[in-house]
Structure formats: structure tokens, C-alpha cells
């Protein structure tokens, strides 16, 4: 049988990348920073946002996009703190895509904001693959998940601009080797800043917020 090969070279993230690009243009115009918070289910992303919002108050005006498969529980928690929040329900999908994030951003009062945190669906795999138009991905890893996770999910730790290591108040009760975890993170990404945090005890948040403010300043200078 005769056969012929036709070369096409077509990107398979086409639509997603297009919407991500639109979001980047919109946010650049509005001078708003979008951060994509990625971590496993129950790693403490919402608690981190609750506590970080208190530290950011008076410095930056923030809003949150809450990505979940089901329920509006996380959005309700943040709304109780008077944080502008929109809930994105994927109804089963394991990650947020650029188009839904773009529409949700357009519903926020961007002119009144400096920074939007997008809490992605709890998952270390799929959200790392999809650009949602963010300025930076931030990996959130809790000490209860084990020190080997950076090696098991390398893409996220390669793509992230920083790591927040949560629940460190639990260290005395766990067989978690903190120095091995840091070594594993830096094996994947040698220069990645890591912020050990206990949101419930409110320790380590200052350092993370300080980095965030500095990073935002340097990122906006590059534009």
C-alpha cells in the first residue's frame, strides 16, 4: 500500500495557550499579577491564602479564584474574610484551563486589584501542564505528604517560582526529613526559594509575603 507523510507541526495546547495569552495581555493592561497556586488536596492552600491575606492587607489589594471539582466551601471561607472571591467548579476535571480563568478574571473588578491568587484544583500533576496566563506558579507542599514528592512530580517543581512548605508545626509528630525534602526540591530546581510555613501558627508567612512583594516588583520592572 502506498503511503505519504504530511508534515503539519501543530501545537496541541492551541486554544489553551491562546486564552492564556489573552489573559496575560489583559492583566498587563490592568497591572494585576496572577499567581497560580498548585498543590495536592488538603495541603493547606486555602488556609495559606486566609493567613497570607491578613499579612498582605494594606499592602496589596487581592482577590481569589477558587478552583474545585465540587462545593463552594473554600470560596465561602475566603468570602468570610471579605476577600473578593469567585468559585470555579470544574465538575470533575482535574485542573483549571485558561479560558475559564480568563472569564472569571473579567468578572472581577480588576481596576481595584493588584494581585489575584488562583487556587487550582488539588492535584500535583495536571495543573502544572496548563498555562492559565499566570505570572508565576507557586507550589504548595505539606510536610504530611512526604519528602519525595518533588522527585515524583518534577514538572511542578521545575515550573514553580517558589515553594511554600506548609504545616511545619507538625514536624515533631512526623518522620519527615526536612533537609532531604529541600535537597529533593533543589535537585529538580537548584535555585527555587522554599518557605517553610505554619499557617495555623502564623509562622514563616512574613518571609513568603516579603518574597512575593519583591518578586512582583521585579516582574513588573521586566515588562
Amino acid at each position: 500500500m502506498k503511503r505519504a507523510e504530511i508534515k503539519v507541526y501543530r501545537n496541541l495546547m492551541g486554544d489553551n495557550d491562546l486564552w492564556a495569552e489573552r489573559t496575560k495581555m489583559l492583566l498587563a493592561k490592568k497591572e494585576v499579577t496572577l499567581l497560580n497556586l498548585i498543590g495536592g488536596p488538603g495541603c493547606g492552600k486555602t488556609t495559606l491564602l486566609e493567613k497570607a491575606s491578613l499579612k498582605l492587607s494594606g499592602q496589596l489589594k487581592m482577590a481569589v479564584l477558587e478552583g474545585d471539582i465540587e462545593t463552594t466551601r473554600d470560596a465561602e471561607r475566603l468570602a468570610n474574610l471579605n476577600i473578593p472571591v469567585s468559585q470555579l467548579l470544574t465538575g470533575g476535571a482535574c485542573h483549571l484551563e485558561a479560558k475559564m480563568v480568563h472569564y472569571a478574571l473579567r468578572d472581577l473588578k480588576l481596576d481595584e486589584l493588584d494581585i489575584v491568587f488562583c487556587e487550582n484544583v488539588g492535584n500535583l500533576v495536571c495543573p502544572a501542564e496548563f498555562d492559565i496566563g499566570e505570572g508565576a506558579k507557586i507550589a504548595v507542599l505539606s510536610v504530611t505528604e512526604g519528602e519525595d514528592k518533588p522527585l515524583k512530580y518534577p514538572l511542578l517543581f521545575r515550573e514553580a517560582k517558589s515553594v511554600v512548605l506548609t504545616k511545619i508545626d507538625l514536624l515533631p509528630y512526623l518522620n519527615f526529613d526536612l533537609s532531604l525534602c529541600l535537597k529533593n526540591i533543589h535537585k529538580i530546581n537548584a535555585e527555587l526559594p522554599v518557605f517553610p510555613v505554619s499557617a495555623t501558627k502564623e509562622s514563616g508567612l512574613e518571609e513568603f509575603v516579603c518574597w512575593l512583594l519583591k518578586w512582583r516588583k521585579s516582574a513588573s520592572k521586566l515588562k
Binding site: 496541541l12 492551541g14 476535571a93 512530580y153
Partner: protein
């Protein structure tokens, strides 16, 4: 399971390209897809997703072939350029970790292998 979302794009892209080039979808034998090693895409899932999602589209019965693309890096300290294996992000010369990635995140449809020759369009 993001392989299914990517596969939806793949099926759409293949159908669009075949139409653009003037071929019937049933002419397709194999679509060659390049997937970088940094992508967390499981080839077996992408292949089974294609079997499911191509059903009833005219592409049914065709296959996808996945070509794995290596991770290429350049060391920002000594300038070494090379491939890395097993996510060992270390410079092959100075063992430094300041590496710039310029290959390994590919995800694209490379080519379509069709029955007949390029002139036998429908």
C-alpha cells in the same frame, strides 16, 4: 486524566488539518505526535484516549504514534549544552544546577501518514 483534554485537541487538529489538505479522515493511517519528556503525559493513556475519542469521527481505526523528545538544557554558568536523563537537573560539565531548559516541553502534532500518495486526495 488531562490526556483526554489534550486528545480532544488532537482529534480536532487532525480533522482540521486533513480537511485543509483535502483528505477524507478515513485516509489517515497514523498521526505522529511529539511529546517532551518533561510533559507529564502518559503515552498509554493518550493512545487509549485517542481510540475512545476518534470513534465515530471518521478517524476510527487510525492510530497515533508518540515520539518522545529529550530534555535539552544549557548551563548558565559554564555554557555546557546537552541532554539530561531521569530529571537529573545537573550540568554535565560543571555539575551546577543553573540550567536553562530549551527542549523537553514539546507537545505537537508532527505529521499525518495517509493511505495513497499526496496526489490521491478525495
Amino acid at each position: 486524566m488531562h490526556e483526554y483534554v489534550i486528545c480532544q485537541n488532537l482529534v480536532r487538529t487532525i480533522l482540521g488539518e486533513l480537511e485543509k489538505q483535502g483528505y477524507s479522515p478515513s485516509k489517515l493511517l497514523t498521526a505522529r505526535v511529539v511529546v517532551g519528556k518533561l510533559r507529564q503525559i502518559v503515552p498509554e493513556i493518550l493512545i487509549s484516549a485517542y481510540t475512545v475519542l476518534s470513534k465515530g469521527t471518521g478517524l476510527e481505526g487510525s492510530k497515533i504514534e508518540i515520539i518522545s523528545a529529550p530534555v535539552w538544557v544549557k548551563c548558565e554558568d559554564c555554557g555546557w549544552t546537552g541532554k539530561i536523563e531521569n530529571f537529573n537537573f545537573r550540568c554535565g560539565a560543571c555539575q551546577g544546577g543553573r540550567l536553562k531548559i530549551f527542549g523537553g516541553k514539546e507537545l505537537y502534532l508532527k505529521s499525518l501518514i495517509i493511505k495513497g500518495d499526496e496526489k490521491s486526495r478525495d
